[in-house]
């Protein structure tokens, strides 16, 4: 199995504080790795390092076989990224169709293609809507659709289903599951939704500045481990894969 993302002994310091210390993980072809941990554990930082958005001090990071700084625009087109809680200037007039054309390029200039892109997340009715008038969940769906449209090899998703209702959330993860199995894409998903993690992840990595544990959902999503990770009493129900 080829590793699409490989992180070894990664340490990242932001504002003089070590956010990540000696974290290692990998995402191979056909894997959906869930990254879990409490708020401020360094999950988003890890994703941002993998995308080359922030530098790291120690360790080694390889994305599609290259250090993040060496990724070309063509490489980046093969990485689908959905950031956490999209915030943008809501005063600019922009239609969803115009945003998608800007994001996806000339190959998607035709209206029918854009509708097809949105269909994947049950959002074709949003094509002619103003971006600034979308709810958080609707906007998240548009960005997720754009991330999937270019048939990426690796997905880096930072709480991608935040604000999306349960039905569409399952539909979205079903779609990733389908792409994972059919096209062997790999995905690293930051999520607090342990039910989703249990149902879809092939492997779970838990971090809290350091690597705490890694394994299958059945191995990791155990009451003592989760209680220690989040610091709260929990009960766990496992989905059968």
């Amino acid at each position: 199995m080829v590793n699409l993302l490989e992180v070894r002994d990664l340490s990242v310091s932001l504002g003089g504080r070590w956010v990540l210390e000696g974290v290692s993980l990998s995402v191979g072809e056909g894997e959906l790795v869930a990254l879990i941990g409490p708020n401020g554990a360094g999950k988003t930082t890890l994703l941002r390092v993998a995308l080359g958005l922030i530098p790291y001090q120690r360790g080694e990071v390889r994305v599609l076989g290259k250090p993040p700084a060496k990724l070309t625009p063509a490489d980046r087109a093969r990485i689908g990224y959905v950031p956490q809680a999209l915030q943008f200037d809501r005063s600019m007039p922009l239609l969803v169709s115009e945003l998608l054309r800007a994001m996806l390029g000339e190959a998607f200039a035709r209206r029918a293609l854009l509708q097809h892109v949105l269909q994947a997340v049950d959002a074709e009715h949003l094509l002619d809507r103003e971006v600034r008038a979308l709810s958080g969940g609707e906007l998240q769906r548009v960005v997720v659709a754009a991330a999937l449209a270019l048939e990426p090899r690796l997905l880096l998703l930072d709480e991608p289903a935040t604000g999306i209702d349960v039905g569409v959330r399952l539909q979205f993860y079903d779609l990733i599951e389908e792409q994972r199995k059919q096209r062997s894409i790999g995905a690293l998903v930051v999520s607090h939704d342990l039910s989703i993690v249990s149902r879809y992840a092939t492997r779970v990595v838990c971090i809290h500045h350091r690597l705490l544990c890694t394994g299958t959902p059945q191995e990791v999503l155990q009451v003592p481990i989760i209680e220690e990770l989040y610091g709260h009493p929990v009960s766990v129900y496992h989905h059968e894969h």
């Binding site: 990224y81 950031p83 999209l86 915030q87 600019m92 239609l95 103003e130 960005v143």
Partner: protein, 270 residues
């Protein structure tokens, strides 16, 4: 009134107005979208220093501004990148210091340069060489926007997402700022330092409140820009008001009217 058009200076002024109206309100849409209106203002104020330098070197001000404005834009961009100062604070510092230095130099050198012409432009003193520069900057600007529209929309929507998706954000932003500096530098001779932002920003700001789409905003901004320039120029011919100030005045009135007519954020639901 038609007798006016027998004069070369009136015809030149009209041509300059057309060249300004064709492109500046369109550029304004991108300036508003990238939230760099204040940046354009800072570059416009650098004309004080540029004018002083032109007087020292005994060069045409229009030529000197074409060199100093982009250099100044790069300097601000570099400062912005190197320091943690909020953009608005940095630009206020820049505007204040560069204006003070320029005005002091212009005054000390006792040049024939009129501060009034610098502040409000001199559309009726436009020469052939100014027109050629305006035409060149219009062509360059249109080509730049055709090339950069997609990345600029992506950066305007979500800078980090654009960066993660491979848009060379810093290069695109720098190129856009240099382009903006050239546009501002060439337009100053006609409309002046103070009304420059009005011409760039007000039509686009008015259009923003009235549009649903980016394309619609471009279209409405262009129409408002034409309207402001025609009415402003007419006002300047009719009354002893500098054309730049007249255009800015009309643009401000149009902006206030459209802001009152356009649906509010609450009515739009965002």
């Amino acid at each position: 009134m038609l007798d006016w058009f027998a004069f070369d200076f009136v015809r030149n002024a009209l041509l300059a107005m057309v060249l300004l109206a064709v492109f500046y309100p369109l550029m304004g849409v991108y300036v508003v979208g990238q939230r760099v209106a204040y940046f354009g203002d800072a570059v416009a104020h650098s004309a004080f220093a540029g004018a002083a330098l032109a007087a020292i070197l005994d060069w045409q001000m229009g030529v000197v501004l074409l060199i100093t404005a982009p250099l100044f834009a790069l300097l601000i961009a570099w400062f912005q990148w190197r320091t943690n100062l909020p953009t608005d604070v940095l630009l206020v510092v820049v505007i204040t210091s560069v204006s003070a230095a320029g005005i002091a130099l212009v005054s000390l050198l006792e040049t024939p340069l009129s501060l009034g012409a610098l502040l409000f432009g001199d559309l009726l003193a436009i020469e052939r060489s100014d027109l050629w520069r305006l035409l060149a900057v219009d062509c360059f600007g249109v080509a730049m926007l055709l090339w950069l529209t997609r990345p600029l929309i992506r950066i305007g929507f979500h800078r980090e997402l654009a960066q993660a998706q491979g848009v060379p954000v810093r290069a695109v932003e720098t190129l856009f700022l240099v382009g903006l500096a050239l546009v501002v530098a060439v337009g100053i001779r006609a409309v002046g330092i103070l009304p420059m932002s009005a011409l760039l920003v007000l039509p686009a700001a008015a259009a923003r409140a009235m549009s649903r789409s980016f394309r619609g905003m471009l279209f409405i901004s262009a129409i408002i820009g034409w309207l402001c320039l025609i009415l402003g120029f007419g006002l300047a011919l009719w009354q002893p008001i500098p054309p730049g100030a007249a255009v800015a005045l009309v643009a401000s009135i149009v902006f206030v009217l459209t802001a009152g007519v356009a649906p509010s954020r609450k009515e739009r639901g965002w």
